[in-house]
């Protein structure tokens, strides 16, 4: 049972033909090959709630192709399911780069998944646009990585800084921090703690809890004795829900004036609808809300198209949180390619480092690590929300932007008053 080298070559050839059939099919039309962008989307597993990102990509592709494509070539997406598992990611991105021969990459959703593809992207020298990944380039320092989300420079530390800035202007002296034991939340909590130390705000308690914890009353109770004036909470959707309910069930210490900050969950339509007026008064981060200060060209048209697609795909009907930034990730590439007239990775990356990009989420400038030069994570307060359902959130005034100051769209209402 020995295999000669020639047979082995044939065997390998056969396998690669079988597995790379689409790539070969497209190379037959050699002259007018589409430009390909590849990525994974978590269709299944713990992060499956983020699969509406695909609609963002697809709308970008469709609009671009309807307008004649890019450099006269069609744009094609190659998307695989990473099953929310970091272990799947290196193999899939190698398939994208080495077999499907994609021209550009989007990262998977989130930092843990992205961490396993960054070395590969760097090694293969492909421009990669980060999709809501926090601090993914801090270690690898890859010069062709660009972040679509508005974390700003020094994101790990600063992305939720708006909350602490508000705390400072409100004269808060004591703050409590609680975070789910997940990568994003822990990064945010640790960053928040450092910001507090710099600003001279005392961190009276610092709790890390497992994401499966069902009962948060103990955490809320423990806070009572500490009498914090603000609570910075970094949670995931199920625990965000439990915490928000805990506000009325257990109650907050009377001293608390600011609550929220880093909760993932109240950006999603299903939870906003479920929690309704329980959300009032909470100040939480968001990436886009329909306030008059955020009227970027194209965003409203995008959301209208998204709504239709989301209905068909049975995903989040509002789509404020992730999809616009996926569309913008596409725009980052298409604008750079148009400007340079090339898909050369270096040219595109150099252009992006040197020039601002107009996207549906605003004008973006990148620093040397590919982060936005300015932080634009919104701290918005839920105000005047009732239990009437989703439509209210499509109007301005329900999630009032308090920070950053440039986009401020209303005034902070004291927590107790906002809830009454």
């Amino acid at each position: 049972m020995s295999i000669s080298r020639r047979e082995l070559g044939k065997l390998a050839g056969g396998i690669s033909i079988a597995m790379a059939a689409p790539a070969i099919w497209t190379s037959a039309r050699a002259q007018n090959q589409p430009i390909k962008i590849g990525c994974t989307v978590s269709q299944t597993g713990a992060l499956a709630g983020t699969k509406n990102s695909q609609i963002g990509y697809e709308l970008w592709r469709d609009n671009l192709n309807a307008a004649g494509g890019l450099l006269g070539r069609k744009v094609e997406l190659v998307i695989y399911d990473d099953q929310s598992s970091p272990a799947q990611v290196p193999g899939i991105y190698s398939k994208l780069i080495d077999v499907d021969k994609v021209d550009f990459l989007f990262t998977p959703y989130g930092a843990n998944l992205t961490a396993t593809m960054m070395p590969l992207a760097k090694q293969r020298d492909k421009v990669a646009i980060g999709i809501l990944t926090l601090a993914s380039n801090d270690k690898v320092k890859y010069d062709k990585f660009f972040q679509a989300a508005p974390w700003g420079p020094n994101g790990a530390e600063d992305w939720a800084r708006g909350f602490f800035d508000l705390a400072q202007t409100q004269g808060v002296k004591k703050i409590a921090i609680a975070a789910a034991d997940t990568e994003f939340s822990k990064t945010a909590a640790a960053g928040g703690k450092r910001v507090c130390e710099q600003a001279g705000i005392e961190v009276v308690s610092y709790d890390i809890y497992p994401p499966t914890l069902n009962d948060f009353s103990a955490i809320l109770r423990n806070l009572r004795a500490k009498a914090p004036e603000a609570i910075f909470l970094c949670s995931y959707p199920p625990d965000s829900t439990a915490m928000v309910r805990g506000l009325t069930e257990i109650g907050l210490p009377a001293s608390v004036r600011l609550f929220g900050g880093g909760m993932v969950g109240p950006q999603y339509a299903s939870l906003m609808q479920t929690l309704g007026k329980n959300l009032n008064g909470i100040i939480n981060f968001h990436l886009y809300v329909p306030e008059p200060t955020l009227k970027f060209p194209g965003i409203e048209g995008f959301l209208a198209e998204y709504e239709k697609a989301a209905k068909a795909a049975n995903v989040d009907p509002l789509g404020f949180y992730i999809p616009p930034f996926c569309y913008a990730a596409g725009q980052i590439i298409s604008e750079a390619v148009k400007a340079t007239g090339s898909i050369d990775q270096k040219k595109v990356a150099d252009w992006l480092h040197a020039n601002p990009v107009e996207t549906i989420v605003g004008k973006i400038r990148f620093n040397e690590l590919g982060d936005w030069t300015e932080r634009r994570v919104l701290m918005a307060q839920f105000q005047g929300v009732d239990d009437s359902g989703l439509d209210q959130f499509r109007k301005a005034g329900k999630q009032v932007i308090l920070d950053p100051p440039a986009f401020k769209s209303g005034e902070l209402v004291p927590f107790a008053k906002a809830r009454s």
């Binding site: 299944t44 597993g45 009962d215 339509a269």
Partner: protein
């Protein structure tokens, strides 16, 4: 005073959590404890039950009421499911731990995907009037969304226990785990009894699903976090012991609540399983199990 406040509340919420764990584990206490079928798909079925309750709730029906009605179709699904299982192995006289585990793993994957396709991946929840309010007794404050499903557990367990001790088919169910031939000799069809038991276990999944979805929102993969814990409860209880299931679940719930309140929440999941490992090492028949 703070200590007393924390301790009392940890005890109360631990008991409530334990009751809810017991509900989730109850179906498994039957399929695994009595029939020796390691139904790892049970948590997935519980989530399927939760989604069925969500559907009914969208039409304005109270989740617990909906769950009670839905036990009937779920019972039927359980019968069909057992029939499939029995045809797959039992009558062929095969089917070891490995094969059953793999089969039910396959089933739970299919259930999860069916939920994804039917409902999408967003979190789903129910609306009940008592969400957001709490029951207060002295220092103890317990949210109704814990208390109500928690009260469901003792009621269901009492009902089940009466059924198991007072009725023919209940007695037969307790007998089937030990000796099928003994059942035949007593004039019972063991296959029918097992099918019935499996149906009952599946019907209990929908009650557990209602409890979970009242406590908090669910997504199609939400069953996975319960898998280890429910097996832990059933084993701690001693196979097949119905009151033991409640007691074991409460021990785990209270242990978790106390670790959360006094040590650190991040150690809570491990502590429960450490108890399980310790029990298995020292008392392999479970805390409430009799020697086999």
């Amino acid at each position: 005073m703070v200590f007393l406040d924390l301790a009392l509340n940890a005890l109360a919420s631990g008991i409530a959590l334990g009751c809810i764990y017991a509900l989730v584990a109850l179906g498994l206490a039957i399929t695994f404890g009595l029939l020796h079928i390691p139904n790892v798909a049970h948590p997935a079925l519980v989530i399927a039950g939760a989604y069925a309750v969500v559907l009914a709730n969208m039409r304005g029906i109270d989740p617990i009421l909906a769950a009670l009605v839905l036990t009937l179709p779920f019972y039927a699904v359980g019968l069909a499911f057992y029939e499939f299982y029995a045809r797959a192995f039992e009558r062929r006289g095969r089917g070891n731990t490995l094969q059953s585990l793999t089969l039910f793993f396959g089933v739970s994957l299919i259930v999860e995907i069916a939920l994804v396709v039917a409902f999408g991946t967003d979190l789903r929840s129910v609306s009940v009037p008592y969400v957001g309010r709490s029951f207060e007794l002295g220092l103890i404050v317990l949210p109704y969304r814990f208390l109500v499903p928690a009260l469901l557990a003792p009621a269901v367990i009492l009902g089940l226990w009466l059924y198991m001790t007072r009725t023919h088919s209940g007695l037969a169910m307790r007998a089937v785990a030990h000796d099928e031939r003994a059942l035949s000799i007593s004039g019972h069809d063991p296959v029918a009894i097992k099918r019935h038991a499996f149906g009952l276990a599946t019907a209990l999944a929908v009650l557990a699903g209602a409890a979970l979805v009242i406590v908090g929102p669910v997504d199609p993969f939400a069953g996975r976090v319960h898998l280890g814990r429910v097996f832990a409860v059933v084993v701690l209880a001693g196979l097949g012991s119905i009151p033991g299931t409640l007691a074991a679940a409460i021990i785990i719930g209270v242990a978790e609540a106390f670790v959360t309140a006094f040590l650190s929440p991040s150690w809570a999941p491990g502590v429960a399983f450490a108890i399980l490992l310790g029990t298995l090492a020292l008392r392999p028949n479970g805390i409430f199990g009799t020697a086999r």
